[in-house]
Symmetry: C2
Subunit: 339 residues, 2 copies
DNA sequence: CGCAGACTGGAAAGCGTTTACCGTCATGCC
DNA sequence: GGCATGACGGTAAACGCTTTCCAGTCTGCG
């Protein structure tokens, strides 16, 4: 079913049919012909051919979203925000999940370029791998040179449009919250060290600690994968080696879920009586954990929405930044320090 | 950067360049020219134009996935499975989220048809709305007539390829598990009644109860939205009206999380001492709830993968069905019936 | 009445690929 | 040596749409 057939059925030219059905508003078509085309399209169940349109217009209505893992609630929330905004603009969202494989981000970005996506949102964290960052930057530059738009969620470089969540100050808030509850020996269950997000959160925590006059003990940081099991293992190791800790900051809620399980089931530690735990992100299930997880709330859906909005705006000459705040939510996993 | 430019740069014809870079194997190109084309492409950083290819080949490498909500872990897991399989086939996945708005599924299916998606996976549950089902069926038929492939996760109709999860027998398993723990007064927190998934789960529970010789009390079913709050509200209403219940089946884990919160915080009921709760789906956080949620495990990732595989196979003349089993996982939210 | 200008409809030139189809040339066989 | 046979390279016609011109028709106005 092609537009030409619709046109013939309606007894008009191809141009007219195009203007009626896909017209970009610049050109009007008379009442009579308009009706004829519309009913012909309806009758023949015409469905326009987006690839052909993309070719002719050299712009499409798909935006790409690259995440680490769709099943992770962190990315789920971001994706939901982005899709909600996409709907308003009648865009389709192509999601690619790298499953945390290093090269895949680059590969998918190329794929999205090939699709002539109008824009791409890089939702996963950047890394400290300079070579990879460089290659990615080149690919992004190439895409932008072709008229594509890119925004990152989380900082990746000064010359990119980004939606920055308050990872640093969030880390600080968490530490400060623990401090105010009387905790003086605070440890951190961290994620993969090469992730910028992790670095920033950790850095915020470190600075806050220093500002409060506490010594920074690098041995009180243990890292694991950004997964439940990673959190569990790291938390168990941390408290086995540093049993004197009374407060633990876990750098992401999924890990925190594992940490709670590990402290309880593997070490028999009561939370919050013996150890207080603070997570990060405030994913939907955080309040339902056992005990309800105190955590640093990040506006994930809002970040997804903001990213999509930003990616559609005309690129300013200067890179744009949207900053989103963090907020400490105290629930049942934190209490006054023991003793 | 077009293929023509690459060809010129390499000093070959457009056809040769196309064969080297995208060739479907039928035609070989000599060693020398092949190398010239490849290095020209590399040098010019050529990226092929997927819409143009889609137009010329009249088939694309994108598959669509329509879900209710990407942020829901149920769909997150399905999506993850589908994307993993998609990666093996070097396909891109376009995800559309309907946010449970009725007409949107149809709209997105049309959108995906317009994109000339090679295939579409309908992951959301069907409904009992006959008119909507009919319109959707027409759209699907149209798509298939154009050579598109569709598979549904969850039953929607006898003439569609489907990946069926054991909703009915899962409902039965849950009831039976409760029964074996001594529960005789069992209630159900149900989801939106128009969803087929809900109907099937409920139906399985009902049949199992009848098979066990228990009366079916329609008043012992309360439904709410398929959300945490929906589950909370329905559970609270259910146990307020039927305080004699000792076992509750909640038809999805997200609702179950809310139900646990409601029973504990709103009604002061101890789980499992006073009431046992069984959820459905076994989403990743189920084991971390408080208490750990007993639930009917469905192989969600596997369903996503199976759907993607199915959608790529040549359509058989007869509709294909993949059946996936359910399994009852007993954790801390269930115990022996009181008294 | 003649004409500028506004509207409206159509013809046709792309957009970047794929893929028949057609030469050309070397090879192997009788 | 003549000729069928492959292998390989190129030419050009689609693929379905958008959009620029161009032409024709109306309108209003001097």
């Amino acid at each position: 079913m092609t537009l030409l057939q619709v046109a013939e059925h309606a007894g008009v030219s191809l141009a007219t049919a195009s203007r009626v059905l896909h017209g970009s508003g610049t050109r009007t078509v008379g009442e009579e012909l308009r009706r004829r085309v519309e009913s012909a399209a309806e009758e023949l169940r015409y469905i326009s051919n987006a690839p052909a349109q993309a070719l002719a217009r050299s712009t499409s209505s798909v935006v790409g979203l690259i995440v680490h893992d769709v099943a992770d609630p962190y990315f789920g929330a971001i994706a939901a925000g982005a899709m909600r905004a996409a709907r308003e603009h009648r865009l389709l969202v192509m999601i690619a999940a790298t499953f945390r494989e290093p090269g895949l981000e680059l590969e998918y970005l190329r794929g999205l370029r090939a699709q002539r996506a109008r824009a791409v949102i890089l939702a996963g964290s950047g890394t400290v791998d300079a070579a990879a960052t460089e290659r990615l930057a080149e690919e992004i530059a190439g895409f932008e040179a072709d008229g594509g738009r890119v925004v990152c969620i989380g900082e990746r470089g000064p010359d990119l449009d980004t939606v920055a969540m308050a990872n640093r100050s969030g880390g600080g808030l968490a530490v400060q919250g623990l401090w105010e509850l009387g905790h003086r020996r605070i440890g951190v269950v961290s994620g993969p060290e090469e992730l910028l997000t992790v670095r920033h959160r950790l850095d915020g925590a470190r600075r806050a600690l220093r500002a409060l006059g506490a010594p920074w003990d690098p041995g009180a940081v243990r890292s694991g994968d950004f997964t439940r099991e990673g959190g569990r293992g790291a938390a168990v190791r941390l408290l086995t080696e540093r049993p004197e800790l009374t407060g633990v900051l876990v750098l992401n809620d999924v890990m925190a879920a594992g940490a709670l399980a590990g402290l309880r089931d593997d070490l028999g530690l009561a939370v919050p009586e013996q150890v207080s735990v603070v997570g990060f992100d405030d994913v939907p299930f955080a309040a339902d954990l056992c005990p309800p997880l105190s955590t640093v709330r990040l506006p994930l859906e809002a970040a997804g929405e903001a990213a999509l909005r930003l990616v559609l705006e005309d690129g300013a000459e200067v890179p744009r930044q949207v900053k989103l705040p963090a907020e400490l939510i105290l629930r049942g996993s934190t209490g006054l320090a023991r003793r």
